[in-house]
């Protein structure tokens, strides 16, 4: 025993020295920055780290990595950008917040803008892009988007994405149920659900875990139709519109799969991919998996159904949160220049087009692609989301964080009949205003 303890101590000593070597990384990016800069007066390579949650599992993650690689190649010796991939999105957000709280914001990152939680853009630790915004760069973006990310006259984030959430539907299942056209109103859609039920097919893919994304989209489409596009931005929600939309969602759960309550995104999506449900309301990242699962273009994208006494213009869409990119306050001018260099490259038209062609991802900076250049389903998607009269952001994305946490429980209680739609609406409203 004694010898093994002694050898244990020696192992620890070896480990310490081994780990003190090459595997011990340098300190946080900004510290190593200043080290590099102060080394010699001539131009040193600027090292930047970009935090992202898009890994190689999704097409936009693949495109991002390729774009970064090409940027590094064309800036060899001058700028080097490395991706730090945190696939767990809440984990990444927590890390970013912790880093900002510690006064060491990430060099570059992206996040979701929530009008009810502006801590990140208002932290005062983000780089201001306004001084570098020349006319040609500005023309890449829409004025509305730029205004959205301007706080106290400072442009602290750059638009990147605001992905529409659209109605994908399975044409084969529709045909099998005897429905020739995608429903144009919500009451027609519910009738269609009846027809699907008769064929043993569930209607809309829903889930309740985590952010209940699919369900939130359905809820938002109905609520915005009944109560107006800016329904959830008013402090006092139009109570009846929200209650009515919860009632529709409750019916959708009744027409849904047996595992919808308690399901996560993957179970819900796979339900659609396996033909268990006829409709799913999702973003563009769903296109790749659909292409892999369906081989005969059985999937199409449709315009959202309208409603009686609609308060929103026909053809409006629901979208994901605006997801801008931001940069931590740079340590020095070389760092700032490198960051701007990267962003100008990233928001250029060739790169934007790559996201469309290779990633089936729309970007907030202008893309210039023709329908035949992109995936057919994505072309369909773009056609439905182009030139729309209005947008509503999916409700889950604009709630206060505490209400975001409460939403799954409210949806589950609604689906299980533990609360009435009116009570559910009230609970959500209360948790959003406490």
């Amino acid at each position: 025993m004694r010898t093994s303890i002694r050898s244990g101590v020696m192992v620890v000593a070896v480990l310490f020295t081994a780990c003190g070597g090459p595997s011990a990384s340098p300190q946080s990016p900004q510290a190593s920055q200043t080290q590099q800069q102060s080394a010699t007066p001539q131009a040193q390579q600027v090292n930047l780290t970009m935090m992202t949650s898009y890994g190689p599992n999704q097409s936009r993650g693949v495109v991002l990595q390729k774009v970064v690689d090409e940027f590094n190649k064309s800036h060899e010796g001058k700028i080097r950008l490395s991706l730090e991939i945190n696939p767990d999105h809440p984990g990444m957000v927590a890390k970013i917040r912790t880093m900002i709280a510690a006064g060491r914001p990430p060099d570059i990152f992206h996040y979701n803008l929530n009008p009810n939680d502006l801590a990140i853009p208002q932290s005062g630790q983000l780089m201001d892009f306004a001084p570098s915004m020349d006319a040609s760069w500005k023309s890449r973006f829409s004025a509305d988007d730029l205004a959205l990310f301007t706080f106290d006259g400072k442009l602290v984030s750059l638009p990147w994405q605001q992905s529409p959430a659209l109605f994908y539907y399975n044409k084969a299942l529709f045909k099998q149920a005897g429905i020739s056209q995608f429903p144009s109103t919500w009451s027609e859609l519910l009738k269609a659900c009846d027809a699907f039920k008769a064929k043993g097919v569930a209607c809309v893919s829903l889930f309740t875990q985590n952010d209940a994304w699919h369900t939130s989209n359905a809820l938002t489409y109905v609520a915005a139709c009944l109560g107006g596009l800016d329904l959830f931005s008013k402090p006092d929600w139009n109570a009846s519109a929200v209650a009515d939309s919860f009632a529709v969602v409750k019916q959708l759960f009744a027409y849904g799969t047996a595992d919808a309550v308690g399901a996560n995104y993957d179970v819900s999506s796979k339900g659609f991919l396996l033909g268990k449900t006829a409709i799913v309301i999702d973003g563009p990242w769903a296109i790749d998996p659909m292409n892999k699962a369906f081989t005969n273009s059985e999937i199409a994208v449709a315009r959202a159904p309208s409603c009686d006494a609609a308060k929103a213009p026909a053809g409006f869409i629901t979208t994901d949160a605006p997801s801008p990119m931001a940069a931590g306050k740079p340590a020095n001018k070389a760092h700032a220049d490198a960051v701007v260099e990267w962003f100008k490259y990233f928001t250029s038209e060739p790169v934007a087009n790559r996201f469309a062609v290779e990633g089936s991802q729309p970007t907030a900076f202008k893309q210039n692609v023709k329908a035949q250049d992109v995936d057919p389903l994505f072309a369909n998607y773009l056609a439905v989301s182009a030139n729309v009269p209005g947008k509503a952001i999916s409700v889950q994305r604009v709630l206060r964080p505490s209400a975001q946490t409460a939403l799954p429980a409210i949806l589950e209680a609604l689906a299980l009949g533990k609360v009435t739609p009116a009570e559910a609406a009230k609970r959500l409203h209360d948790s959003n205003t406490k």
């Binding site: 709280a101 932290s123 309550v261 308690g262 589950e412």
Partner: protein, 300 residues
């Protein structure tokens, strides 16, 4: 416990004896005392993890008491601990007793029963999430074989009355850890004790009850403490299997803290909940030690 011999030793003993204690003391201060002060310091604050601290007094604690999810989380955590102490551990002891008799193939059993403890809890939770799925899960497939109407289409994870027990089932079954601890302790009991008891005419189960169990008291204590601390921290099972649902039916304190901090960005509230969790843990362990002192067994 000092004897004369002790005092003579102590004086010459070791001025550097403190050095033995120092590393552990230093680590405890850095990794527990400092963060604990942080937690207690932040719990009366309103903080979202980025912006400035705002003093909120007792508001976070009051909000906790008014939050039905917190009281459910509290009760559920107590239930988890109870299941751990009164179902999981006795089962593990039973298995250890059986295996300590070295039946044929006992080594295989010991390794095989231990393997699930090595597979990360995330994987086990995912597995059971699939097993309980009402559409394609194993439980549904098995129940379909029983021609009883009431057993069909059960949504064990989506039913508020069964969700908690469903999330606890894998925990109860995978008892490799405590079993190993018991086995380790049992094999350290010298043969003579068993010989003496056998000579006195004791049967197997009598030996188990009167010889083995009292002698494994250190293992019982260690396992019990591990059960309490593990269940105070455990969150993969409810997180992955039900996300604390349905409607917070299966949430526990650890998941509540996680959600409050990393989803609601209510760090003050999470710290207040942490303080409550710590207090609960201390009370429970205090109770355990009081009970342990009263029980028969070999302990100093």
């Amino acid at each position: 416990m000092a004897s004369h011999g002790h005092r003579r030793l102590a004086t010459g003993a070791a001025p550097y004896g403190w050095l033995y204690l120092l590393p552990a003391l230093a680590f405890t201060v850095v990794f527990f005392v400092v963060p604990l002060l942080f937690v207690l310091g932040v719990s009366p604050m309103q903080w979202d993890g980025i912006s400035a601290f705002q003093f909120a007094g007792l508001r976070n604690y009051i909000a906790l008491m008014e939050d039905s999810a917190f009281s459910t989380a509290f009760t559920n955590t107590l239930l988890w601990i109870a299941v751990g102490l009164f179902v999981h551990l006795p089962l593990a002891l039973l298995v250890a007793l059986l295996l300590s008799k070295r039946p044929a193939g006992w080594r295989v059993f010991r390794t095989a029963l231990f393997v699930p403890s090595i597979i990360s809890t995330t994987a086990l939770a995912l597995l059971w999430y699939f097993i309980f799925n009402p559409d394609f899960g194993l439980v549904s497939a098995l129940l379909a074989l029983i021609p009883l109407e009431g057993l069909q289409g059960l949504r064990l994870l989506a039913d508020p009355t069964t969700a908690l027990w469903a999330t606890q089932l894998p925990y109860v079954i995978y008892l490799g850890f405590p079993m190993m601890v018991f086995l380790t302790q049992i094999s350290a009991i010298p043969e003579e004790y068993f010989e003496a008891a056998r000579i006195d005419g004791a049967h197997d189960w009598q030996m188990d009850l009167h010889v083995t169990i009292p002698l494994v008291k250190p293992a019982i204590i260690v396992n019990s403490l591990f059960v309490v601390t593990y269940n105070l921290r455990l969150f993969e099972y409810p997180f992955i299997m039900t996300d604390g649902g349905p409607a917070n039916a299966s949430i526990n304190l650890s998941l509540y803290i996680y959600k409050t901090m990393l989803q609601s960005f209510d760090y003050g509230g999470a710290m207040a909940a942490s303080a409550a969790t710590i207090a609960a843990g201390l009370v429970i362990v205090g109770l355990m030690f009081t009970v342990a002192r009263r029980l028969p067994g070999d302990t100093r």
